[in-house]
Symmetry: C2
Subunit: 411 residues, 2 copies
């Protein structure tokens, strides 16, 4: 039989999606599954976007421009002004989701064996994109005990070699909810300028910021206009994950010309989704105000409920809609699978993403899970109650019990 590539072997399964078949089997057994595993919001997509697609008058569903339509890119540029981001349509290339934006970016700046520094835990698919591009991720590990605060810049600088091509951050962070301060962005800016690296910021959660804090985009730093690459997406902002529209924004003309070549090879981003995304830019402001309020309350509910469970550690997210929780278990992968395969509490269970896949070294995060707070507060409460009972039952089931689990108490 012909063989699979090494790259194909190394390609990780998605920790967010690999358990889907088990969830489907649970559902077939009549067990209700609360999805805490995936950043798929339950929020309604803006009506203006849905209507634009329903009212489209396409007769020939044709290719669009490889870089996205001119009108859409102009509107995106205008939209960024609200965030004090000053770019023009020529600095924007529309992609098939933030995923493609990241793939094109990594392929454009790094060759096989090149290195990219990423604070971890990081969005799991960064591992996949890096394997696909042949890159090596060099992690800077942040800790749950210090609320996933950014490690000192000196930690980044120590890791820079002649192979380092970029520093990649996710701001606010998936899976930690970490929000970078203006000062941190400026320090990173000085660092990439000094070492002539790219600074890539995945800012797809820019609008999910709580506690009256503010997001500070890397594109506000004029000194690094040739170094800064911003990744964006409509998926989370407009609850339009299924559109598959994102974009790359950079003022580096060589970089944008290179990205365009990758974009031309795949022809164009999806046409219907661009119609929805362009219309979504007209979403009224109160839509976002309501959502921010809602997520802020969900976060508070989730953190409060998690903290009630003994021996569960949790870092407080300042943005996005995830948190990392450390559980009194030996193996979060096994626990997550067991939740779907064997456990139920009143015919209900939860699906969570084991955190090992959010680290460069999968032995980190062995006790941790990512929880997405994309459900309403009542469901979050139910889900965490299920988690509590599951932890209790798992304790008795599991032979390889740790001291912390042994001392764990359901009450």
């Amino acid at each position: 039989m012909p063989t699979i590539s090494l790259k194909g072997h190394l390609m990780p399964q998605s920790p967010i999606r690999k358990l889907v078949p088990f969830a489907e089997k649970a559902k077939k057994r009549g067990v209700k599954v609360y999805h805490l595993n995936i950043g798929q919001p339950d929020i309604k997509t803006p009506q203006v976007a849905l209507d634009a697609v329903k009212n489209n008058n396409i007769e020939i569903l044709a290719y669009s421009r490889s870089e996205g339509s001119e009108t859409y890119r102009e509107k995106i540029a205008a939209h960024y002004k609200k965030y004090h981001i000053n770019v023009s349509s020529g600095d924007i290339l529309v992609t098939t989701g933030g995923s493609e934006a990241l793939s094109f970016t990594l392929s454009s700046i790094a060759d096989t064996g090149d290195e990219i520094i990423i604070p971890e835990p990081f969005y799991a698919n960064y591992n996949g994109f890096s394997v696909a591009s042949g890159l090596k991720i060099v992690p800077v590990t942040s800790k749950i005990d210090t609320n996933f605060d950014l490690p000192p810049i000196i930690e980044f600088e120590k890791l820079i070699t002649h192979k380092t091509k970029a520093i990649l951050i996710c701001n606010p962070g998936n899976p930690t909810g970490y929000l970078y301060t203006k000062e941190e962005i400026q320090t990173l800016a000085r660092l990439v300028k000094k070492h002539d690296l790219f600074l890539i910021a995945d800012e797809v959660y820019r609008d999910f910021i709580y506690d009256n804090t503010e997001h500070y985009s890397i594109l506000r730093e004029k000194e690094i206009k040739d170094h800064a690459i911003m990744i964006d997406s409509v998926s989370k902002k407009y609850s339009m994950c299924g559109a598959r529209i994102g974009c790359i924004v950079s003022k580096n003309k060589d970089f944008m010309a290179t990205v365009l070549k990758f974009a031309q090879a795949r022809l164009s981003p999806p046409t219907y989704a661009q119609i929805a995304s362009e219309a979504a830019l007209d979403t009224p402001q109160e839509y976002f105000e309501k959502i921010t309020q809602e997520y802020s309350e969900r976060r508070d509910t989730l953190i409060t409920e998690l903290k009630k469970i003994k021996h569960v550690k949790v870092a407080e997210p300042k943005g996005a809609f995830y948190c990392i929780a450390e559980l009194p278990i030996c193996n979060a992968d096994d626990f997550a699978k067991w939740l779907l395969e064997e456990f139920h509490y009143n015919h209900e269970t939860i699906m969570i993403a084991p955190a090992s896949g959010f680290y460069s070294n999968s032995s980190f995060g062995k006790y941790q899970v990512r929880i997405a707070y994309v459900l309403n507060q009542e469901d979050i409460k139910k889900a965490i109650t299920i988690l509590k009972h599951a932890l209790h039952e798992y304790r008795y089931k599991n032979d390889k019990i740790t001291v912390s689990v042994a001392s764990y108490d359901i009450h």
Copy 2:
């Protein structure tokens, strides 16, 4: 300034799309441009597909399954039965266009430095996908003088090394319109089985077959079920290029499991486009009969008109909707650009794709262009008249004149 990757430098510009800015400038000058450069049909998308999207009742535009929805894949499997292709939904993975299907396939089977044998001229973006995946294309050159007939199988076998991972064919061929016979497919099947290679067939033009001939899919060869990988797309079949939906079909379970990991990393194919594509499967048969008739007539018109121009060589396509024509010029790239930048005939011009990008070595095809017959017959006639006058004018303009051009006569 931070530097672009070597891969980014090597990535070719699309010969089909690189001249778009020149075409847009021509249009701004008031020159009408006939697009013979791109396989964007002028045929209306099936109403059933357009209606499905207009009548959708989505409230939350959510992610779909990474491999595409179960119902859609089941319907695709049922649809293939018509072509004597016997597969199940589990053998199918839905992708964001045929482009992504090819990228995932190449990444799953080959590592940097591995080789893939492709008869050339081939679809230009195979060059792009190969550079992106780090592969080396090993071409088997077919010639316009022999109507791009497949070179003898011995030519393929001579090129097989320990680095060879696959043979990739496009059937019917873009850009040549070449249609593989059943016997040729069977010979290739024996070859890949003997050397344990994958056989990848890009069959996106399966429905565009003329002269009452039949298409023979590689998936009909049961002996190579673990070797055969078929690439498909809705783009051409349903005139839905802007949907960006394709699929990978294979019975090799290791391969499909690997492809799924790449698919998970990019989350899901676009949701609206899947709705359209699923509905498109219900397109009535007469839609295709009319289209085949129309394209067959367009092909005849195009070939007849091209043959009227002295010193223009053209191979007769048996399928798809392209042909390669050899023109009495020194440099098709320069000519194609000149057509848009400097030339007009009664305020009209044509856009063509220089064929150099359809070869592994760009010096081949230097005198050739790809012409897509995606316009109605009247427009095709006008476009070829423009070509005739353009060749005449270009002859006087160009100092570096070849003998064949010197002897070229407009009448």
